[in-house]
């Protein structure tokens, strides 16, 4: 199909869908209306199970089985990324070089690092009480860990971040969610039913299994983001193609193992105010 025909087909499709959407939206409930039957029942059910954050109650109690499917997608995507971005036979690893960081960046990132990690844990732990939960807090905590890369360099991040351990944590989070669901079966009701004591409304232990499922998701999401970023950072910084197509690292062709000869990416910050050039930043394009 020539590009011109393809554009015409696209135009027809877009016009058709646009016309259908334009007709349909007038039959939807009006925006901002007062009638939300599902929302009202969900809030009632959340209050009945003593969960202050109705969104957490929907995710981890009323629609917990749906969340099981969602997190399986998450797990599957991470697994797929790990497989796709593995080191292949014609590639080799180079050691990342130590890098200098501007003083203010290092200071602020190192100050922010524990604060961000703590915020992540807080957001996970208070998922059933205040806005937040395992999904959000997990991402915050995982991002916080990577402030170490911003503040120091990739080698420092690698020292504290064992990808193997985080892969295990990812699987443990997934398994934790599955196993917590079986509590319902053991109690004689349906899978993922909230069977634990509900506790006092508005306290950290309220909501039965909701905080536990939240924690399992938090562990899984945090570990998943760390593993994902580790794979991408490996590709950008460490893994280079050996042999003749050395376009990722021109000048290092041949002689595997001469890792020190890696050029410093395309960042071009040559002011030399802060020691050696940072390696691999935005590089290897």
């Amino acid at each position: 199909m020539s590009p011109r025909t393809r554009l015409w087909v696209l135009a027809c499709g877009v016009a058709g869908v646009a016309a259908l959407l334009a007709v349909t939206v007038w039959r939807l409930p009006p925006f901002g209306g007062a009638r939300h039957p599902y929302g009202e029942r969900a809030v009632e059910a959340a209050l009945a199970s003593r969960v202050a954050n109705a969104v957490a109650s929907v995710n981890f109690d009323q629609r917990a089985f749906d969340t099981l499917g969602e997190q399986a997608i998450l797990f599957g995507s991470v697994l797929g990324t790990v497989v796709v971005l593995r080191q292949t036979r014609d590639e080799r690893r180079v050691e990342p070089e130590p890098a200098g960081v501007a003083g203010p960046v290092r200071r602020y990132a190192l100050i922010a690092l524990p604060v961000v990690l703590l915020t992540g844990v807080y957001v996970v732990a208070h998922g059933q009480l205040s806005p937040g939960g395992g999904f959000q807090g997990g991402v915050v905590a995982a991002t916080g860990l990577h402030l170490l890369y911003v503040a120091v360099d990739y080698r420092a991040l690698k020292r504290v971040r064992s990808v193997h351990l985080f892969t295990l944590a990812d699987a443990a989070g997934e398994a934790g969610y599955l196993l917590l669901g079986t509590g319902g079966l053991l109690a004689g009701t349906a899978y993922l039913t909230d069977v634990l004591p509900l506790g006092t409304f508005g306290t950290l232990a309220s909501g039965g299994t909701v905080p536990l499922l939240n924690a399992a998701i938090g562990v899984e999401v945090a570990a998943a983001v760390v593993v994902l970023l580790a794979r991408f950072l490996d590709q950008a910084i460490e893994i280079v193609t050996s042999g003749e197509e050395g376009d990722r690292a021109p000048g290092t062709d041949g002689a595997p193992g001469t890792g020190g000869a890696r050029p410093a990416g395309g960042t071009g910050r040559a002011d030399g105010a802060d020691g050696p050039h940072r390696t691999g930043r935005g590089g290897a394009g």
């Binding site: 590009p3 393809r6 554009l7 696209l10 499709g13 877009v14 869908v17 646009a18 959407l21 334009a22 939206v25 007038w26 939807l28 409930p29 009006p30 925006f31 901002g32 209306g33 007062a34 939300h36 599902y38 929302g39 969900a42 809030v43 959340a46 209050l47 202050a52 954050n53 109705a54 969104v55 109650s57 929907v58 995710n59 629609r63 749906d66 969340t67 969602e70 997608i73 998450l74 995507s77 991470v78 797929g80 990324t81 796709v84 971005l85 009480l129 205040s130 806005p131 939960g133 999904f135 959000q136 991402v139 508005g202 999401v221 998943a224 994902l228 794979r231 991408f232 590709q235 376009d247």
Partner: protein, 115 residues
């Protein structure tokens, strides 16, 4: 105008579709897919909005004292965002490998299969 948010969602969806179909760069195509996906967030949140409503969280409001927006669609949006992010990561990983194996990220140049 009571249908404007729905029209915005439809417009975002179509803009993403056009972006994907006319893309000359796979990274741009993945970005367009993310635009498509964000239209679902707009649609879901628009469906759940209630005039004068506040967040469906009772950490600082008494239950029943104020109208609340719909928590169900918010929960759907939340999981959608996380799953969308990881699926985008998987697609970008595929793009990385395509760029390495074929030396191009233009979908028009990726016509033949290669082992």
């Amino acid at each position: 105008m009571s249908v404007l948010p729905y029209l915005v969602a439809g417009w975002l969806f179509l803009a993403g579709c056009v972006g994907m179909a006319t893309s000359r760069n796979l990274i741009h195509a993945v970005g367009s897919l993310a635009v498509c996906q964000s239209s679902t967030y707009v649609l879901l949140l628009a469906v759940g909005y209630r005039r004068g409503g506040t967040a469906p969280v009772h950490s600082d409001i008494r239950p029943g004292s104020r109208p609340l927006v719909d928590p169900v669609v918010q929960a759907l949006t939340l999981t959608d965002v996380v799953v969308g992010a990881t699926v985008t990561a998987l697609l970008l990983a595929l793009v990385v490998q395509v760029a390495k194996r074929h030396g191009t990220v233009d979908p028009d140049e990726l016509r033949e299969l290669r082992g």
